[in-house]
Amino acid sequence: MLLVIYMAKIKVRLYGLIPAKFVVKDIDIYKPFNLKKLEKEIISKYGDVIHKDYISDRGLLNHQLVRIGDSSGRRLDYEDDISGIEEIWFIVSISGG
């Protein structure tokens, strides 16, 4: 029997969630996946350095403070299908001067 495992590589920008860090990471994740699964993967990898304000009581990212979007800037939330997306931004609002 041939076992095929679908693995996706997704570029994730974590801007400001880790204090003073603006990092771009490639994350490998099994398909199918959704935003909730991706957030869990992010928290498993970086949860110890992401500021506590940005993690919700449910162990996901706190969407009140973390804004999520695709590379075009379209906002994303849990109900959106992100399976075809290659890049996702997670940002916190920082206002310049």
Partner: protein
Amino acid sequence: MKGCTGRLLRVNLSSGAITKEKIPDEYLREYLGGTGLAARYLYDEIPVNGDVFDENNKLFFSVGPLNGKQFPTSGRCNLSCRSPLTGIWLDSSWSGKFGYNLKRAGYDAIIIEGKSPKPVYLYINDEQVELRDASFIWGKMVSESVRDLYEQCGDKKASCCTIGPAGEKMVKTGCIIGDTTKAAGRGGSGALMGSKKLKAIYVYGSQSVDVPDEGVWKKTVKEITAKINENQTSQALKAYGTGVAMATAPQTGDAPIKNWTLGKWDGFEKVNGIAMAKTILKKHSPQCHACPIHCARYVEIDEGDYQMKGEGPEYEAMGVFGSMCLNDNLESIAYANFLCNEYGMDVISTGSSISFAMEAFEKGILTLQDTDGIELAWGNVEAILAMIRKIGDRVGIGELLGQGVRKAADVLGKGSEEFAMHVKGLEIPMHDPRAFFGFGPTYATSPRGACHLHGYIGGFDGAGVMPEAGLNEPQEPHALKGKGFLAKIVQDYCSVMQSSIICFFTLYSVTPTDLAKALTAATGVSYDAQEIFKIGERVFNLQRAFNNRFGLTSADDVLPGRILTSTIGGPNEGIVPNFEEQMKEYYELRKWEDNGNPSKEKLHELGLDFVISDLYG
């Protein structure tokens, strides 16, 4: 009142008279200092009639109870006047160490009146105060002026503020620069200083400032400094400067693109604080007095066409000379910023005027004949730099653009008023109300015109809470309700901050309760959060009344139509603020009349009874 010197220095440039006056104690208690004290004095002293360049327009420099010691970010100084650019209220503050020195010289404020017949500078060394000949620096760029001024005056611990050629030539977007790079940018105060032939103020102060209990004060300073240090936004600003916000602009849509039309621009990848750190950044700039944030950047460009050394571009410069002009050349943006500092010109107004001119050129309203053959095409770096020089030298098309986009559109006509992006004559900062709805009522009602600092919404819209004012949860940036409320509370709080006076970047970490505690420790007057909100509201309404007397009404509380239409593409495509409802909510909370005046009841409640007869007869 402790924490203040209680003294004002009055300098009459016409007569040369210099006097030291006592400031009424109730002024200090009820308005603190900074912009609040300025409002209280200038409301009485600037007559309603007359031109902005008449000798009876005055410049008011002021500090507050938190300056002169080691309170974090307290190097700031405020200046106020009737704006040459807008004709209404202006305040603007700058960082560095001028405020620290002024307070330690023994003054809460300086009021400059009259006009000098020849270029002078004001020399302050504690009690020694003199007007001195400034002919040796008149006509020089800012950095050269500062260098020569220090050479003559000596003390490196001192500070100064000066104008450059733009202010001397009374360019209406000319500003005052603290030392060499810290701009009190907005509204044309440099032009007023130039009209008075006052080139600079040098100040050195060596006196200590009394507080009621030094131990309590030091403990308070330590606690608040720790809070600022722990804050994530402080840390981001420290790491990458204010330009860090350009990195998130593709997602928020905060930074305007192509004179506020587009919603998407690939150039953000190259034009942001992180990109700057990887390229031209050498180190953090020398910090402002007692500042734990260190947002300023020191950059060096050693080769090529844009060689410069000095303070790098802030977020606003990256916006106006970058995305607004479709220019993704970061070195050229740094150089454009450098040129503005050298001429002594407001970056936001200058860049916005150039973006406006580019659109006028694209539409054929401006031609090569108007621009002396310069191709004012989007993204043309050389055209941007040439325009800055023309504005600063007040030559060619620069003569018109240096009067701001409102005036430029009045003169050019042909529909250009549709894309002249200003409120009350002040060009709009690089924060889009379509990204953060709270900017809508904030811009529309700020006393100096479109201003992001009189209500630093960016610290709250979608990000922060202020339980002392009833904001218990972060608001969704596009929420249809609550933005009038948000604008009001943040404006009131910012008015207190600029009366205290400290940097707006502490807004993320210093709560109203913290600020009240600090003011209590500084002054010995028992303030709480509610009391300081009342002070902020008092200051804001007095500045409003100042403008009402100059004819400002609710009809002026508007945004350009372009901001109320969708961007083309980008994260906010199809999203526009429900501005009318926002303003209705705002007016109700402010208790302002339909004509835009604060109501009699509100004025009475705030102790502004002296205003009632002026507005209501």
